[in-house]
Symmetry: D2
Subunit: 333 residues, 4 copies
Amino acid sequence: MIILLKENASEQQLNDLSRWLEEQGVSLHATKGLHQTILGLIGDTSRIDIGQVMQMEIVEDVKRVQEPFKSANRKFHPLDTVVDVSGAKIGGGGLAVIAGPCSIENREQIHCVAEAVKKSGATFLRGGAFKPRTSPYSFQGMQGAGIELLLEAKKATGLPIVTELMDLSQLEYFDDVDVIQVGARNMQNFELLKQLGRLKKPILLKRGLMSTYQELLMSAEYIMAGGNEDVILCERGIRTFETYTRNTLDISAVPVLKKLTHLPVIIDPSHAIGMTEFIPSLSLAAVAAGADGLMIEVHNDPAHAKCDGQQSLTPAAFDAMMQKVMRLCQAIR
Amino acid sequence: MIILLKENASEQQLNDLSRWLEEQGVSLHATKGLHQTILGLIGDTSRIDIGQVMQMEIVEDVKRVQEPFKSANRKFHPLDTVVDVSGAKIGGGGLAVIAGPCSIENREQIHCVAEAVKKSGATFLRGGAFKPRTSPYSFQGMQGAGIELLLEAKKATGLPIVTELMDLSQLEYFDDVDVIQVGARNMQNFELLKQLGRLKKPILLKRGLMSTYQELLMSAEYIMAGGNEDVILCERGIRTFETYTRNTLDISAVPVLKKLTHLPVIIDPSHAIGMTEFIPSLSLAAVAAGADGLMIEVHNDPAHAKCDGQQSLTPAAFDAMMQKVMRLCQAIR
Amino acid sequence: MIILLKENASEQQLNDLSRWLEEQGVSLHATKGLHQTILGLIGDTSRIDIGQVMQMEIVEDVKRVQEPFKSANRKFHPLDTVVDVSGAKIGGGGLAVIAGPCSIENREQIHCVAEAVKKSGATFLRGGAFKPRTSPYSFQGMQGAGIELLLEAKKATGLPIVTELMDLSQLEYFDDVDVIQVGARNMQNFELLKQLGRLKKPILLKRGLMSTYQELLMSAEYIMAGGNEDVILCERGIRTFETYTRNTLDISAVPVLKKLTHLPVIIDPSHAIGMTEFIPSLSLAAVAAGADGLMIEVHNDPAHAKCDGQQSLTPAAFDAMMQKVMRLCQAIR
Amino acid sequence: MIILLKENASEQQLNDLSRWLEEQGVSLHATKGLHQTILGLIGDTSRIDIGQVMQMEIVEDVKRVQEPFKSANRKFHPLDTVVDVSGAKIGGGGLAVIAGPCSIENREQIHCVAEAVKKSGATFLRGGAFKPRTSPYSFQGMQGAGIELLLEAKKATGLPIVTELMDLSQLEYFDDVDVIQVGARNMQNFELLKQLGRLKKPILLKRGLMSTYQELLMSAEYIMAGGNEDVILCERGIRTFETYTRNTLDISAVPVLKKLTHLPVIIDPSHAIGMTEFIPSLSLAAVAAGADGLMIEVHNDPAHAKCDGQQSLTPAAFDAMMQKVMRLCQAIR
């Protein structure tokens, strides 16, 4: 961290500030120019609140050099984290494919989709039971009964399951769920993150529509600070001025996040673009960019899906896409 | 709602779609052009899921004419909602001023600030006890003990209090709180909104950093659908490409929201711009634009505040600003 | 400017870099930590290309302390620039009001509007002759003939005129134009800016839809570097994710730009919001925030305007707004 | 185009509007509901100004169904446009690779880079002679002398050349240039686009930092409306709230634009991300997504480049990347 002092900072003020900083456990080096003094902080600055320094009377500006996240930081943990769910892996060089319907609607639907995606090469089954919807008048998911059906499909296919938790009150239903998903709108629901940090279960953390890479990593840090180090990051489109697509897939998130952190990074093209016809192109792009996995919405009858049908692939379209994805993996990974 | 059908839609498909739509309680008028048929829907379309229509095979595009929010819609409730907390009002033509520190830090601080802001004309006292922080390593608020101190300050000054709830597990502390604040990051925490809809207590709902007007109104609708109609909307800056300011205050939200809804609309310039020196200008702008209230961070010692000191006015600066605000109100409101 | 060196920087590399920097006319102070060396640059860094430093092998990061603009910088020119056009002033505490139609359409229209806005208190007349339109199939303006009509209206009313130049090839028509407007889409048309820097005529420079404060100031710097110091900055809405309004008025631009620069700052609420009913609210907000002027579209028959009718006030609506604006000025300015 | 009328529209007003619309060459179908009348327009609506309709007194809202671009529209020209420069092609299934330095700096540099990129498989040579720079104090390019050197390198290698034109006054230097580039900041410099529409030379049109797909296509339409149909579209990153990367590459632009238009679509990852280490990942993603080409900055000595060194690959890094790109093409294209 570097602190620029105002021109008129007095010796006394500088001493006060220096003492306070050293109490935070860092050491200092001051560069005194003709007009301006610059303080360089050496040591672990991740616990220093940049806002608190900023507001001090003699401080003109503060620039962070070291990232404020530690557990998630690749600098301190160079090796890739590999999340292993009974042998199905996310991270470490392979490609995890999480597929299934937006919402679990009934037994036939989830079984039919589960069998189909397994056959095409999916390694995890997804399905929503608790659904965050913009309108209170839209279908809110099958709730606990949906989880039951998902667990049945897991038993039938052997695929580990991923499903979303919206609130801590729903936790009782998640005992046998393999990976808990935190949705984009909950990425900064800090109470939720803290509680999930106490579990022994992988967490799939979606990037908020408006969240920077650093904010995403700080949210992962909330979970990891509690002791749960199995966090999977998921880029699912950010909000920009372009409204033709549902969101804007930030493909750069793949190489950038993989540089900054050792956690696995996957892509959800379905929510990013919101239109089935473009999902294969984006999936191939994600794999080419180095993503550790894909998360894809598949529905046996998209035209009658209770939610997100316009962005759900049919099993046949998913199968065709998977063949291309596999050819791509063989060629460059 | 208007539905554009694809060129090749068959008579049979059109009949199926028409029947389904009529089952949703709307009536239809079809315009058949040479190449394209257009369906106009008449009636209450707020319960029709636009995504579900979009995904139907014969549908090319869907445009919503009627807004999807009902309880919050000014068309159906032309008169302003006035939230009345033991005589202190928000909405209906006056100007509510909610002031106080970002965080409650100790008894002296909150009492000192409460007395000061009351003297300068504030009508509500704010203070954070449960703090959403980007970093798990930052100060997380005094929690329940903070609420206790805030209640003491309420007793001493007679000012009704506003404070933030982050999670339903904290609800037990809020019995004597006058107005519950929902933070920007929780604007789409739908489980939380649903539960707050069952309370008999005004809710101050902050707009998310990347939420549209319509999404904000749909979140208000979640609360109102549960029976709680005392919702106050708060614009607090949105996230844009400009990073000089903390966020970008969307001043247009004032006249636009007041056209779309009967709910009161207030402005929080402190979080919007994040630098004290610009807060008076933005406050005056908000009042001139027609805002029903202001929410301002005031701290007796900003340089040592535990959070947001760089955007907290001193009591003296707040007092000077309030005098200008009052002159402005007299001149044009 | 502060330069952070990589951990493994050799003494030789550090010497080379230091020599190069000193050749650019700045002096250096180095802070050597255990792991990292920090260079602080003292002197005029506005001519140092931050990108060029960034790419050097031993450089980890570069942070600018001093702003890269000089002529436009309030630090070096503390007093407000006042642009004076035959007695009509922009800047320095008063309020300039520039009003008139989006496009000049015919003699009757421009005369009628000119007389009306003058009567209501406008101090400048605007009108477009060369029109930038998104579509090649839309009306492109009356061109040279439009300027002729505008000059007639100037003669009749005595109001100085403001009109847009799109390309240097049009310059021959601008001899008697008082203030030349550069549109938002041309804010970074650097060749145009350079040529305008050689004129002796005030330039009204609109902020681009996607341009930061600093980029706007750097574009003003292009003009001023050529010797033309009469630049007026105009905020006219930026592009964000919110699409209900045409653009998002960045009201914070007023106090922020006025801190950073001595140039006058005006607001164009017509283009910012794009809907007449909201323009008075935004105009009042702009004046309350401290703007040096307003730029307002007024048309005698908005429903038949050839462009931007939906954002043009009638003369009567403009008059009503101006009365409120004046009451506001008396109260707080 | 669909027009929603206000509830209180009179028969007379409706007749007036209908007559006006029919004069624009379209035919109408009216749907009269209980409260609202909807007009459906059939025919070529690309010349109808949506703003002009919007402002009419009886109009509540207008929605465009048909895209406002014609010449660029794939609906009317289903086959891919293939731009052919003496045998080097862009579009139609192959992969064009345009590589070279940001700025031409001297003879040795441009020859050295040209030979290197040719050897690695580049099909076009790029190099900037007229440079748009944010600061007037930065290097502005070698101008005409730079073009001379570029032409020499073309002769030596046989590679066709691509270089940027900033202003019409520079056109005299472009006689032997193969492809003229229009930069992102000039995407809506409509006078420039009109003039380029009269040339017989391919135009590489870069998407503006905050331009929508439709605006990009309308700018292409400006060129094509003049008779020049050889337009190549280039996505080079858009501006969003994320500032870690220089811009945000909108990879979805590839499949979306290729659906909407028959023009070739290429990607410039260098400007999009601005950091060399991430360029190979983004290039592979672009090719996997179906781009018709890549535009890559390569410099023989990035650390001493006069501009954009931090985003320029060395010839060796470019070569390594090209080998992966080719393996990818063989696998899935």
